[in-house]
Amino acid sequence: MSALASQVQDPHVQLRRLYTSLLEEQSRFDEFKQLLALYPASDGDEESPEAQAVRAKLNARIGEWLCGHFDGLSAAQVALWRSIVVEERINVALSPWKESNLY
């Protein structure tokens, strides 16, 4: 396997490319948030067909943004991402002078 192919398959590299893609394009950012918001909040049971459909759409859209180089998100990943991005449950910025540090 070439170094490039190996890099493309690296999940961390894929996530970083997704992150950059979201930062660079408002419409992608909006769609990303909208799809995460559509994903039903987890109640600990099996993923419902409705949730599966939303996740499939999210994976397909991310695949398009990254030109196909995306392995897809698991149900647990989408649930976690939803809680962070939509519900702002984890590591929420704290104050007006919060000085977020990630660019």
């Binding site: 984890i90 704290l94 002078w97 000085e99 990630l102």
Partner: protein, 320 residues
């Protein structure tokens, strides 16, 4: 325990018992912290916000540790009180008699400490209170009616809003033998720091401010710029969020606000260095460098900075 938390804890312990629950959990009550029991040291990521006088102490002619400690306490009480008043005025915090009483105690505590640092400091602080309150009201009135503002007006009102961030440090400088040039250098260093933080914050939060319905600086600045370019009369308030965002992006307002923040940090750096506040100078210089990295991205992908702020918690979770 962190110094600032120890100082604040001592302040709280001297309050009437009925006020202590609110005072102890003030970051949470003011919605500066998402969960209860957060100390002030966890709310702000750098000492400059609550401990500014300490950062200037190394450059003063005769720094007295006890005066520095008092100045830090007075400054912290001032800033916390200002955040509280701001949150009450724009209804982001639930106003209760206990909260209002705690804010009054913060003012009282601050004045008592300032009095012991330098004669005239209390008058300075009360004038700063008035200036800050007036500026907050002026800001609210302008933004609510979607008034068009120039960057100069924005700068003037922003600086007035920060007035409470000066008296304790200036009092310390006077009390520790600073000459007029050093006092002025201290004032300018603080101006740069406060304005840089304010401009950056107004940039990152403009969509949330707008959504809350009270207007946003980015929108008012965009309106002014649009009118200046096209010489057209003010239009009706756009209600569709994307339309407002597109306008702000098209006019490069966020880039210009961040550019303004960079300039202010640069001013802060120069004057902090000139008065021997080396730790503060290094911090301001680092802010300049970070904005140097972000500005080209914001220029190329309008809204980049806002999206980065919104994705920061997610990125911290999945990319590190």
């Amino acid at each position: 325990m962190h110094t600032i938390d120890a100082l604040y804890a001592a302040f709280v312990s001297a309050l009437p018992e009925s006020l202590r629950p609110v005072a102890e959990d003030l970051p949470y009550f003011l919605r500066l912290a998402p969960v209860p029991r957060q100390p002030w040291s966890a709310v702000f990521s750098h000492a400059v916000t609550l401990e500014a006088p300490r950062l200037f102490a190394p450059g003063l002619p005769r720094p007295d540790p006890e005066l520095v400690r008092r100045a830090v306490l007075a400054h912290a009480l001032s800033v916390i009180e200002a955040f509280g008043t701001d949150r009450v005025l724009d209804r982001q915090a639930k106003t209760t008699p206990e909260l209002l009483a705690v804010l009054e105690e913060l003012r009282r505590g601050r004045d008592a400490v300032l009095e012991s640092i330098w004669p005239g400091a209390v008058a300075l602080a009360r004038a700063a209170d008035r200036e800050t309150t007036e500026a907050i009201k002026e800001e609210a009135a302008i933004l609510r009616r979607l008034g068009a503002v120039t960057f100069e007006e924005y700068r003037r009102i922003s600086l007035a809003k920060q007035s409470v961030g000066f008296p304790a440090t200036l009092a310390l400088a006077h009390a520790c033998g600073a000459n007029e040039a050093q006092v002025e250098g201290t004032r300018r260093a603080l101006s740069g720091v406060w304005l840089g933080l304010q401009f950056e914050d107004d940039t990152g939060d403009w969509e949330d401010d707008w959504r809350r319905g009270g207007g946003a600086w980015a929108v008012s600045l965009a309106r002014r710029k649009l009118e200046a370019v096209k010489d057209k009369s003010a239009d009706e308030r756009p209600t569709e969020p994307d339309l407002v965002r597109r306008r702000v992006h098209r006019m490069r307002i966020l880039y210009l606000m961040l550019h303004g923040a960079r300039h202010q940090y640069r001013v802060g750096f120069r004057y902090a260095r000139s008065v021997g506040a080396t730790q503060l100078a290094a911090w301001a210089d680092e802010r300049v460098r970070r904005l140097d990295a972000v500005l080209p991205l914001e220029a190329q992908h309008a809204g980049y900075y806002v999206r980065a702020r919104k994705l920061a918690p997610w990125a911290a979770e999945v990319l590190t």
